[in-house]
Amino acid sequence: MLVKIIFAGFGGQGVLSMGLNLAQAAMDEGKNVTFLPSYGVEVRGGTANCTVAISDDEIASPVASSPDYIVVMNQPSLVRFQNQLHSGGVMFYNSSLIETGITRGDISLVAVPASEMAESMGSARSANMVMLGAFTRKTNVVSLDTLIKGMMETLKSKPKLIAINKQALTAGYDLAQQKAHARNVPGSF
């Protein structure tokens, strides 16, 4: 099994920490994993992205030319990455900030109102964790438990943030679960 995922969004939306948390969880589950941040002249408010590869086997390349999943947190990322997604792949998008512009018909879509949900929890910055929770529920790449444990590990220097991040991960996870039952179409709800 080899899965490649691109996470993309505004710098400051926590796009890299989404990827890093997933990579940490996959590592904790004994998988081979690489995490490659975009390394351009990127700034807060600009675009940021990272690629995570997870495999049972040795990973040849940390780069994804046609990823199995993409997670886009804003409109510019949608424009930049939707055409890279592998045919039949799944795109998770932040439906709070992305309203139009999805042109692919050969992929599955998962809409997650990540920003709105995070704001309703009183922490707009946790939109990334809402999204990651939903991603985990739909893809089963890692378990929610390992993801939460991994998050606690990466945030051990900032213990104040653990509770809200846990809440956000779980909320995203539960949302994806409800929606999956509602429509019962794998990867598309």
């Binding site: 890093l20 990579a23 590592m27 081979n32 994993v33 690489t34 995490f35 490659l36 941040p37 390394y39 351009g40 002249v41 040795e58 990973i59 040849a60 390349s61 940390p62 780069v63 030319s65």
Partner: protein
């Protein structure tokens, strides 16, 4: 852990006592890591120097005093360090230099490239000298190679270069550390640590006596011959029955390995030869493979530098093709797979 920090932790656990850095993308995390962590052990020094030239000369001083010293940079910064590296070689002093290379020439780009191969393997500065060059292909190997580099430098009394690239430096992978920092390091015989109770030692590269310099060159040359015999390292993958062999190093070798695996799934008899030490280069191994295999493909993230060493090794015994992406463009494993397949069928390989 990212590759840059891994090089830092690997160095600390190898007993690195002095680190001198100067910022340059994409190796900044290494300097940052050393700034935060060199103070963990007693008696260790971290200095952010005023320039790359200052940093390498601080390494020279620290090495003269008998400590394990290191600096790191990326391609344009490495060019600036070459004078110091030549002096280290001429003074027979150990040092470790990590190059997280990027696209060139000039300031080039900040993305990963492998175009510093010539500079690293041919000495880089002026004079008749070599440096041992290790080329890791994963974050784990960055740890292992940095450790090895300190041991090799002390063993052969010369600068050792760890040549990685911007992608290895930036990417994160799981790593394991197998060593704790040694409590006591052996004291080198040629160190300057105070001449109380013994005659003074002279360590210098400048003399008006040319025959002294000739002697030094001969002594270095003989040492380099021994190193070629003893330290050459490579990885061979699926070469036994191969009709075509891909030669690649570092991160490119890793991509090539994925491509070779996929080509094997298609039934193509392809193998991979990866030099782990770029100098000394595994000329003999490649030469012997050339007695049997008639088609080689060299793959590099440059316009073809290691290519020349492969050609030297093969002495026209086999055909050598080349595929490269220079300047910081990152090729994909599937791209290399396509190149392998095309060449394989073009040359009519795999037919009974």
């Amino acid at each position: 852990m990212d590759g840059n920090s891994a090089a830092g932790e690997g160095a600390i656990r190898a007993g690195c006592q002095c680190y001198f850095g100067y910022p340059i993308t994409p190796q900044n995390e290494l300097t940052e890591y050393m700034a935060a962590n060199m103070s963990r052990r007693k008696g260790c020094a971290f200095i952010q120097a005023e320039s790359e030239v200052a940093a390498i000369n601080m390494v020279y001083g620290a090495s003269l005093a008998g400590t394990r010293a290191m600096t790191s940079s990326s391609s344009p910064g490495m060019s600036l360090k070459q004078e110091g590296i030549s002096y280290l070689a001429g003074s027979e002093l150990p040092a470790v230099i990590v190059n997280i290379s990027r696209g060139g020439p000039g300031l080039g780009s900040i993305a990963a490239a492998q175009s510093d191969y010539f500079q690293a393997t041919r000495g880089g500065g002026h004079g008749d000298y070599r440096t041992i060059v290790l080329a890791p292909a994963s974050v784990q190997e960055i740890v292992d190679h940095t450790h090895m580099a300190f041991d090799l430098a002390d063993k052969w009394l010369m600068p050792v270069i760890v040549l990685a690239d911007g992608m290895l430096g930036q990417m994160k992978e799981p790593v394991q550390f197998h060593h704790e920092a040694p409590e006591v390091l052996p004291i080198r015989a040629n160190a300057l640590r105070g001449a109380k109770g013994r005659p003074s030692r002279f360590i210098r590269t400048c003399t008006s006596n040319v025959s002294e310099v000739e002697d030094l060159n001969w002594s270095l040359f003989r040492r380099y011959q021994l190193i070629q015999k003893e330290e050459t390292a490579f990885d061979a993958f699926e070469v036994e029955d191969a009709e075509m062999i891909v030669v690649a190093f570092g991160i490119a070798a890793r991509m090539a390995k994925g491509a070779v695996k996929n080509a094997r799934k298609d039934g193509l008899r392809v193998g991979l030869l990866r030099p782990v030490t770029l100098w000394p280069f595994p000329y003999d191994v490649i030469g012997e493979l050339g007695d049997r295999v008639k088609q080689f493909l060299v793959f590099e993230m440059s316009m073809g530098q290691m290519l020349e060493d492969v050609q030297l090794a093969l002495k026209n015994k086999a055909e050598v093709s080349f595929y490269g992406r220079p300047g910081g463009v990152i090729p994909t494993s599937s791209e290399v797979h396509r190149v392998i397949s095309r060449l394989y069928f073009q040359k009519g390989l795999g037919r009974l």
